[in-house]
Amino acid sequence: MALARETAFPGATRIFEEGEKADRFWIIRSGTVALDVQVPGRGRSVVETVGAGALLGWSWLCPPQQWHLGAETREPVRAWQFDAGAVRNLCAEDPVLGLALVTVVAETIGDRLRATRTRLLDLYGPQGSQASGPTP
């Protein structure tokens, strides 16, 4: 936690943009952040929101270290901010810490992957992917 810095963002603040260099990440303490993607001709589409306790940003861990999505606060957010380069250096010096950290990040990536797959199944349809009833 020595590498963490307390930070706060007001509501409706862009934290990062798709394609920008991913050199920081956050652990959200309170508030909600919307992750979005720019759809040509349609503006930004929110794909997920993350809230208290969640890791915001994992693109800093692996090449090309660019954000895959944009992030905007939905309400005032308090978070711990980490400098990705410093964390990567620390992990290189201390492989045990490195493995622990990568495991936590991998778990987050796994959670988001599972959530995305479940959404693709049309979770709230009558019979999941076999939905045969009318769709709204």
Partner: protein, 268 residues
């Protein structure tokens, strides 16, 4: 429990979403025995057919509220009924949420889509006795904001934690986006001392139960409500069979440790 439908009258009708309506029914003569949260009735649209529908509120007296989503002939006919119309009702059928098992524990009440309807009488009964339970968390998921049920009741349910999330945000939606399990990160509960009540489509139930178990909620403390096609609702015709269970009699509310092995069997 009656085997022949008794005549009831629609005394109130409220459109919840573009395809979902809540009907309040009152006996036109003799009343059925009282229902408890989680149970269902067989509701007969005269001349069209009969379908199972859970009670979505027990408004007091001998009234029953049902929230029906129009998906086919019978449910569409029921959704189209005006106040004053007549229906036939049999019941009460099935097992119930049995909130007594959760006394003193934190509660997770998790609904997906129309699955929030059978959970609403449970929420009502918990709110009527707040000191009997630990922390209440109501989590709801829907495809779009327009599909969310009971939006105006949510503020009263959100103590200490309640949240709704949608897959596809639209218009002025400023709430959460993502599947219902993502709300578990913010919910306020101690997994080892929590009872969860889950209702929704089967894929949602499985995904939710797995996420709960992963967080440390015991499988025997997870109650799910399962739906199968029903005909007699009295345990005789076999239409509602799920493995060894006849869901009209042994369900719809089943403990997840009993349901899980049956839900992962591939149907032939």
């Amino acid at each position: 429990m009656t085997l022949v439908p008794l005549p009831y009258r629609v005394v109130d009708r409220r459109a919840e979403t573009h395809d979902t309506v809540t009907l309040v029914l009152e006996p036109a003569g003799e009343a059925l025995n009282p229902f408890v949260p989680g149970q269902f009735a067989m509701v007969y649209a005269f001349g069209i057919g009969e379908i199972p529908v859970s009670v979505s509120r027990l408004p007091g007296g001998q009234r029953l509220a049902h929230t029906v989503r129009a998906v086919g002939a019978v449910s569409r006919a029921l959704c189209g009924l005006p106040a004053g119309a007549a229906v036939g009702v049999r019941g009460p059928f099935g097992t119930n949420w049995d909130p007594a098992v959760a006394r003193g524990q934190d509660l997770l009440i998790i609904g997906g889509g129309i699955g929030l309807a059978p959970l609403r009488p449970l929420i009502d009964s918990v709110l009527a006795e707040p000191y009997a339970y630990g922390r209440l968390n109501v989590l709801a998921g829907a495809r779009t904001p327009g599909d969310l049920l009971y939006r105006d009741e949510f503020p009263a349910w959100g103590r200490p934690f309640g949240a709704a999330t949608v897959d596809r945000p639209s218009g002025d939606w400023t709430g959460r986006v993502g599947v219902v399990t993502t709300l578990l990160d913010e919910a306020l509960f101690t997994p080892a001392n929590t009872t969860a009540f889950v209702c929704g489509p089967e894929v949602m139930i499985r995904a939710t139960a797995r996420a709960l178990i992963h967080r440390g909620v015991r499988p025997d403390r997870i109650r799910v409500s399962l739906e199968r096609n029903m005909r007699c609702a009295t345990g005789h015709c076999g239409h509602c069979q799920l493995g060894p269970l006849l869901l009209c009699r042994d369900g719809p509310v089943v403990r997840y440790d009993r349901a899980e092995p049956l839900l992962t069997v591939r149907e032939l």
